[in-house]
Amino acid sequence: MTPDALWYEAAFVTGITNALNVTADALADLLPPLDDATAGADAVAVFAEIRAFHGGQVPAPFGALAHDPAYLAEVWKAWRHAFADRRLTRRLKTALAFAVSLTTRSRFGTGFHLAELRRLGVGERGTMEIIGVTQMFSSYTKIADTLQLESDMGAIAPVDPTPAPGH
């Protein structure tokens, strides 16, 4: 396990979370999600995988993406890989996704990832921890930006000297 690998995983969760959130929040009323009755066979097969991963649900944005089944399949593969238990646990990745959704004021993402957190066993105390950290660091970041503070804490973390995967 290398320290940088953890951060790559966190960054990929952040990115793909935001990708689904913008689709959900911007297109909810414009591009109605397809379901098993209205989507083609390729998309329905992807829906089955999504249900298996997400406790029987197909989040609405995936239904919207089903208008292009090949695109849906690729986004789903990236999403499943990003959220799978690897070096970071799925539980932590879901907490990160919840925090990203709160920070970006995504109604879909906040509700979906909160439900996922609970489904994965996180209680009220844990939920409040994530809400608290999100709030406090949304405060620190705006104070830092307002005063245009320059980063002065990078040196406290060691640099990871390991090469890229496969080398």
Binding site: N18, E129, I131, G132, Q135, L147, E150
Partner: protein, 84 residues
Amino acid sequence: MPTVRIRAAAEYPDAVRKMFELSSQWFGYDFTEPPAMSRVMAWDPDFGSPHGRAMKRAMGPGEFTRAEEEMVAAVVSGTNACSY
């Protein structure tokens, strides 16, 4: 360039400088000079102290580890596009 002059720790009164010791303990790092954010929060302890305690409560022992919560904090900071 910061909007304000960030005061050195030595410019703060003794009572406030205790906050900097707490900051070093929190980070587990012996700073030559406390982080700029610590010195900003020390400017007004009536704001900085409860703000810091709220942060420490959120990041204290609970269902998530300190390391996990630090990663949440980093992701929130990145999402807010804050380089500090």
